[in-house]
Symmetry: C2
Amino acid sequence: MVDIATRVYNHKWKIDPIVRSLIDTDFYKLLMCQSIFRNRPDTTVCFSLINRTRSIRLADLIDEGELREQLDHVRSLRLSRGEGTWLRGNTFYGKRQMFRPDFMEFLENLRLPPYHLEKRDGQYELTFEGRWPEVMMWEIPALAILMELRSRAVLATLGRFELQVLYARAMTRLWEKIEKLREMPDLRIADFGTRRRHSFLWQDWAVQAMIEGLGERFTGTSNCLIAMRRDIEAIGTNAHELPMVYAALADTDQELRQAPYRVLADWHEEHDGNLRMILPDTYGTEGFLAGAPDWLAGWTGIRIDSGDPATGAETAIRWWQDRGEDPTKKLVIFSDGLDVDKIAELHRRFHGRVKVSFGWGTLLTNDFRGLVAGDGLAPFSLVCKAVSANGRPTVKLSDNPAKATGPAAEIARYRRVFDVGQQSAVDVVV
Amino acid sequence: MVDIATRVYNHKWKIDPIVRSLIDTDFYKLLMCQSIFRNRPDTTVCFSLINRTRSIRLADLIDEGELREQLDHVRSLRLSRGEGTWLRGNTFYGKRQMFRPDFMEFLENLRLPPYHLEKRDGQYELTFEGRWPEVMMWEIPALAILMELRSRAVLATLGRFELQVLYARAMTRLWEKIEKLREMPDLRIADFGTRRRHSFLWQDWAVQAMIEGLGERFTGTSNCLIAMRRDIEAIGTNAHELPMVYAALADTDQELRQAPYRVLADWHEEHDGNLRMILPDTYGTEGFLAGAPDWLAGWTGIRIDSGDPATGAETAIRWWQDRGEDPTKKLVIFSDGLDVDKIAELHRRFHGRVKVSFGWGTLLTNDFRGLVAGDGLAPFSLVCKAVSANGRPTVKLSDNPAKATGPAAEIARYRRVFDVGQQSAVDVVV
């Protein structure tokens, strides 16, 4: 029986929206947004979308009209009543009413601000400038839209049957990864793959696969919409944009050096428990930890997001020991460039020495490598970053020089201020 | 949107029929039926379904009530008008009106005769006794029903998600086989997998995969219903039941020795071209070819269905050469226990020396090996054979002693009459 109504309904869509909800975003964006809304609401920030994989010429692949339609659609979204209820009523990390009433009111009235789109040299230049708590909400939908429009452009060349085999293969591949993960005792792993997902539906499928395959070992997803619909935990804490903007706003080198700690001091006031996660690598992990105030050693854990992850974790363990903390009570979250073998290796090495957790991103939600001719569905390195704050450029160094962003002169200044020595480059996969 | 009507409709089914059409059967059954209807219509034959894989206790797995419902449903089927039109109007092997009006009339009025079902020792004993042209039509539906009920019994233990991953894996596996087949130039291959298919829908999917993946190199399917629906060629010629029954009806050893040639003499009168395929192994290929009349060497080709296939093909080539025929103009169809590696090996060896074609069966339509715990979906060796004719037992020897059927005394007599020497056993996979 053909469901004629559904078929007709599908055909009369003007577009097939990629982002259909304001909470189809990462949970940490909401946490950070609340913090910014409270502490730095009037900062003017510019976010810019950058394709680090220059060989993929997005402007040749993706029609500008379609891109604008998708972005415009996001601007038409408002928080739905059910979404508001879920955010207000849910327990996150065991805490009720994590979102304050004034912030919820802001969020319920939020519409995303205008975007600026240009084509240049086969790439799209997509920027968002405005009040920080508003423009920062563009990051995830903008990334998800570009990623999925690229998927759709490639998928449009395939026959119906080829599509079926493609997804059969992708499902098989993901399930085989999950079967390997099942062999690890006491694994804790979450989905961090919203931003570079193949598509919304595929991320949703991947999450269901993790739920079914890993049970309690799957601790949740960073995606609020999927967390809500699948009735699982929303996961996340904070990201580089906070220290990057705080740093850009610093007036002196002395203020600059203190900026990353200032971020965490503000965070410390607001949150406790599992939300007290240090992201130490924005301007080099070694220097950050060496100069950190003692109260930071009391935090729950550290997220390792660049550089060699084992080195980062060993550094953290030594730091805790130096500060008289028991590393076995501390949480280390690995979230950079993970796939199953790397997860297994890190789990073997650190399991028992610290509490280990994994935020699995692109190779959970977008591993279509080798599945179409020309590898046209391989994931690529698309980022959307705060590039300036109140007119001043932002800088990120990280523990991998290949991931540094910002004007060269500013990078040099930051390297001097934060006393960053020699760093070894790690290939950026995704 | 949930299609409520479809869902309600599905739920009100009394059963989900496995065989929904009288032409959901192998094309050669219809060809043989027409021949029998013309030459031996009043022979009383008993067909019996035998599970050669005793370790799979079908009567423990499959509910007797469900089995009866499925068999009863087949008895309610009649040739539909569209099916009759397709059989009358279609071109088979380039020939129009292959089915005579009197046979079509018989077929249009056919309802399958009663069955006899008993449980014994964890197995079902399922027999069909009656007029040969009627009972012989039970073979394929009976096999397909038992195979699919067993699949369903195992699938019923899986969750919704496990089912999806299962089929994703099976699809991926089959597609990878097809990709290997694509590398073989001038391949000719057909689906012969109706009788031991995982399910009807899966066979239909496999056929679509072959169409999309192999194009012209996929020459068709033995399944008439799928051939009709997918608008491809129906493939097949004749099978062991003809010589087995003719042999059982022989009154003397001399008549017995001539029975296999008598079958082909009857066939010779009716058919030409690609339908003149010799199936030489019923009582041993060597002896059959040695004693064959010269006109048989003029036939189009030979189907190799037991024993070592390369040996069988070499025997055929030598025979043609001895009879002054050019083997490069002859067709060899391999149809026993094939999978991709074996197909590749035989193709490499015989391509160019003869015209090579493959009838790919169980490992096309039922390769779920290793895909569920306990390997509960692995194919198994279920056969449905004519076991007696006019009260006399039938015998099959084949080129593999592991495949011999019939009473021991009769097997011994046949081995003597047909002068079958030492045979080497080949494992029967499926």
